[in-house]
Symmetry: none
Subunit: 421 residues, 2 copies
C-alpha cells in the first residue's frame, strides 16, 4: 500500500479565489515520483479554528500531511501555532533558525524586524527544516502514526525546500516502512501539430488501463506525453518505461523537441552549444519575448549575442538597417521586412543565425488584408535569408499570439540547427 498523503494549502487569498494554488499540483506530482499517493487536497483560510479543524481532519485520513503557507512573519500566519495546538505542545524558539533568519537579512544589508522572530518558533518535539532561499523555515513533525511537513507558501521556496530536504527524508520514511514500489515518470514534449491530431495517432498509447500509463496534455500549443511506469522493482519499472518512450520517440520524431521540463528555448540553446553557433534576434510584435526566453537560461550568454526590439518603424531602420522605403512600400508586417530584420540583426550582432518576427498581435491594428494574428518570421544564416508566414488569429488574445510566434521562431531555429529545414 502506498503512503497516503493530504495536502493542505493555507491562505485567505486561496480560498477566496484571489490567488490560484499551484503548489498542491506540484507537490502531488513530486510526491507521486517518490511513490506517495496524494488522496486529498484542502484549502483553508487564515483562521485558527479552520486550521485546527483541517489539520485534525487530515491526520484522521492521511499518513502524510503536507501544508503550504502560513509560515510568514505576519499575524495572518497561523500554521506554527495551529500545529502546536493540534499536537498539544508549546511553541519554543530555535536558536539556529533565528540565527539563519538574522543572517538572511544581514546578507542583504537589511534590518530584521521583531516580527521575523516568530519565524524561529517551532512546536516542541518538531524539527526545523532550513530555508536556504527565504526567511520562513519549514517544520517536520511526527504525530502518532502520521507525519506532518509544513512548507512555505512561496512556490520557489517551497520547491527548493522540498527537493533539497524533504524528498530525501520522505524516501527514508518510505524505506523504513518497507514501501518499495517504484514509480518512474517521464514527459516528452512535441511542437508543430495540433493536440487532436497527435491524440488520433496515439490512441493505442493513451488507452485506459495500459501499462505504462500514457497521458496527453496540451499547453500553449506544446503537446506533452506523460508516461508513468509503476513496478515492484526499479529495473522492471525502467524497462517498461523505456519501451513506451522508444515507441513515442519513433512515432513522433519529426515534432519531438525535448524530454522533461525543457522548453523550446532549452532545445535551441542545446543545439547552439552542440554546433558552436551563435544567435541574435530581431523582434517586433513579440516585443522581447524570444530574447527573454533564451536569456532566462543559465549559460545563454555563451551563444546568445542579443537582440533588437524594433517596436517602432524608425527603430527598424535605425537599429537594423531596414530601408524606410521598403517599410513604406510593403508595410512593416511583410515577408520582405521580416527578412531585412533578420539580415540586419545577423549583421549588427555578427551572429551565425538571426531570427526575426514582425506581425500584428492585436487587439487593434488588424485590417482585412492583414488581420490580427498575421505574423512573418525571418531566418538569416550564412546561406541566405528566408521568411515564413503564420496565421495565429484573429480571435486569439495578444499574449497567445506573442507566445505562439515566439515558439514558432524558436522551433525554426532548432530545426535549422538540426538540419531538418
Amino acid at each position: 500500500m502506498a503512503l497516503k498523503a493530504e495536502l493542505v494549502a493555507i491562505g485567505d487569498e486561496l480560498v477566496s479565489g484571489q490567488a490560484l494554488d499551484t503548489n498542491s499540483q506540484w507537490l502531488a506530482r513530486s510526491l507521486a515520483a517518490l511513490g506517495v499517493e496524494t488522496r486529498f487536497h484542502s484549502s483553508i483560510g487564515d483562521d485558527m479554528d479552520e486550521n485546527l479543524g483541517a489539520l485534525r481532519h487530515a491526520f484522521g485520513r492521511a499518513e502524510l500531511v503536507v501544508t503550504t503557507g502560513g509560515l510568514g512573519p505576519t499575524q495572518d500566519d497561523l500554521t506554527r501555532e495551529a500545529l502546536a495546538r493540534v499536537a498539544g505542545v508549546e511553541l519554543v524558539e530555535d536558536p539556529a533558525s533565528l540565527a539563519a533568519i538574522a543572517g538572511f537579512f544581514e546578507r542583504r544589508n537589511r534590518a530584521m524586524t521583531e516580527r521575523n522572530r516568530v519565524q524561529a518558533l517551532f512546536p516542541a518535539g518538531s524539527e526545523p527544516i532550513a530555508n536556504r532561499v527565504g526567511t520562513a523555515p519549514g517544520i517536520w513533525m511526527r504525530l502518532g502514526r502520521a507525519t506532518c511537513i509544513c512548507l512555505p507558501g512561496v512556490p520557489y521556496e517551497m520547491k527548493v525546500m522540498f527537493e533539497e530536504q524533504v524528498a530525501p527524508r520522505v524516501r527514508s520514511l518510505m524505506a523504513a516502512r518497507g514501501d518499495t514500489r517504484f514509480i518512474l515518470e517521464r514527459k516528452l514534449n512535441l511542437f508543430g501539430r495540433g493536440e487532436a491530431d497527435v491524440e488520433a495517432s496515439a490512441l493505442d498509447l493513451t488507452a485506459r488501463g495500459r501499462e505504462p500509463m500514457v497521458g496527453i496534455t496540451a499547453s500553449d500549443a506544446t503537446i506533452s506525453f506523460r508516461v508513468r511506469s509503476s513496478s515492484a522493482t526499479e529495473t522492471e519499472a525502467a524497462s517498461a518505461l523505456e519501451g513506451t518512450l522508444a515507441t513515442i520517440r519513433a512515432r513522433f520524431a519529426d515534432i519531438l523537441f525535448s524530454e522533461g521540463d525543457d522548453e523550446l528555448q532549452h532545445a535551441v540553446l542545446a543545439e547552439l552549444a552542440r554546433s558552436g553557433k551563435t544567435l541574435a534576434v530581431a523582434e517586433s510584435c513579440t516585443g522581447g519575448l524570444i530574447a527573454d526566453r533564451v536569456a532566462s537560461l543559465a549559460g545563454a550568454s555563451e551563444h546568445f549575442l542579443g537582440g533588437v526590439v524594433s517596436y517602432s518603424n524608425a527603430s527598424k531602420s535605425a537599429l537594423l538597417g531596414v530601408p524606410a522605403e521598403l517599410i513604406a512600400r510593403v508595410g512593416a508586417v511583410s515577408p520582405e521586412v521580416a527578412e531585412a530584420m533578420a539580415v540586419g540583426a545577423r549583421g549588427r550582432f555578427g551572429s551565425d543565425l538571426a531570427v526575426s518576427v514582425t506581425g500584428i498581435a492585436g487587439p487593434s491594428g488588424g485590417t482585412p488584408e492583414k488581420p490580427v494574428g498575421l505574423v512573418y518570421l525571418g531566418l538569416a544564416t550564412a546561406e541566405g535569408v528566408r521568411s515564413r508566414k503564420l496565421e495565429l488569429g484573429p480571435e486569439q488574445p495578444r499574449r497567445v499570439i506573442q507566445s505562439r510566434s515566439a515558439k514558432h521562431a524558436l522551433n525554426w531555429v532548432r530545426r535549422e540547427l538540426l538540419g531538418l529545414e
Copy 2:
C-alpha cells in the same frame, strides 16, 4: 453573516496532480461577487468512500456545497450516487434530462451510448440543472439547512451553467434567507520595501477582527494589501472600504503603484500615456524581460519605441555606442556602462526616457568584487543620466534576479515620470 461555502473538486487527475484545478478559483471569485464567502476547497479522487466522507464533512461545516466533476458517463463518475447515498435517497431517471442528452447527440449526428443514460439519473428530491453546452446535467439539492450544487468538471460547461442558471438561484437563496450582505474587495499593490517592513507599519490595519478586513501578501517582491469590506448595504460597504483605502493610500503613498491586477508595467504605460512621453530600454542581464513586460500590454506601441538586448559586450558598443575602452576599463557591470547604455538607447531610439540594466544574474559569472545579484540600472532623460546599484543576490536564482531587476527598472521609470525621483 455571509453564506459559507465549500467547493469540492472531484477527480483522480486533480488529486494526483496530473491536472490543475482552476474551477475552484473561478467559483470562489464568482460566489464572492454574489456575497457568498468560500471558506474551504477540497479535492478528492474518484473513490466512493472518499466522496461520501468529503460530502459529509462539507455539509458539516458549510451551508453551500458546490461540487465540480464526477458527472460524466463513465464508471469513474460517482457524484450522483454519492450525493444520493449521503441524502439517503434513491437515484431516479429524469425524462426531460434524458431527452436533452439524446438531443445533444442527435444534433451532432452521433449515437448516444447506453452509458450516457446514467447522466439522466438524479437523487430523489433533487432538481436537474440543464446543460446547454454538454451532456452532463447539474444537480441542485437541499439537504437539511444546506444546499448542494453539483456542476460538471469541464470548465467551459461549468462556467456557462453557473452564470446562466446557478447564479440567479443563489441570489434568490440569499434573498430568501434575508441575506443582503454586500461584499466589496480591492487590492492595492506596493513595491520598494520588504513585506515584514510594510507589515510593521500596518499592524493596526491587519489586526484580526478589524473591519474592513485587511490582508497582506507578497509575490516576487510586490506587496499587496487586500481590503475586504462587508456590510448590510452597498453604500455602507463602499464607504467603509473607501476609508481603509484612503488610509493605505496616504500611509504608503511613496511605494503604492497600482490598484487591482495592474503590474508595474501597467503603471509605467499609464504614466507614459498621461505625460505623452516615450520609452526605450537597453537590457543586458534581464535579456528582454523589461521590453517583453511592456510590450505584453495592448497599446504599448504608442509609447514604447523598443529596446536593445545587448547581451554581448560587442553589441553594447555596436548597437548602443558604449565605448569598448570603457567596458575594458570598468567592466560591463558598472555604473558607467549602465549610464552609457541608457544614453545610447535614448539616442538610437529617439525616446524621451531610456532605462538600462547590466548585472550578474548568475548562477555563474560572480566574483568576490562583483557577486551574483549585483545589478546597475541607468536612467537617461532630457536632463541627463543617473545610475543606481541593486544587490539582489547572491543566493537568489537567475530568474528571480532578472525579475527583480526588471521591477526596479520599471519602478524607477514610473517614479521619474511622476516626479518622485
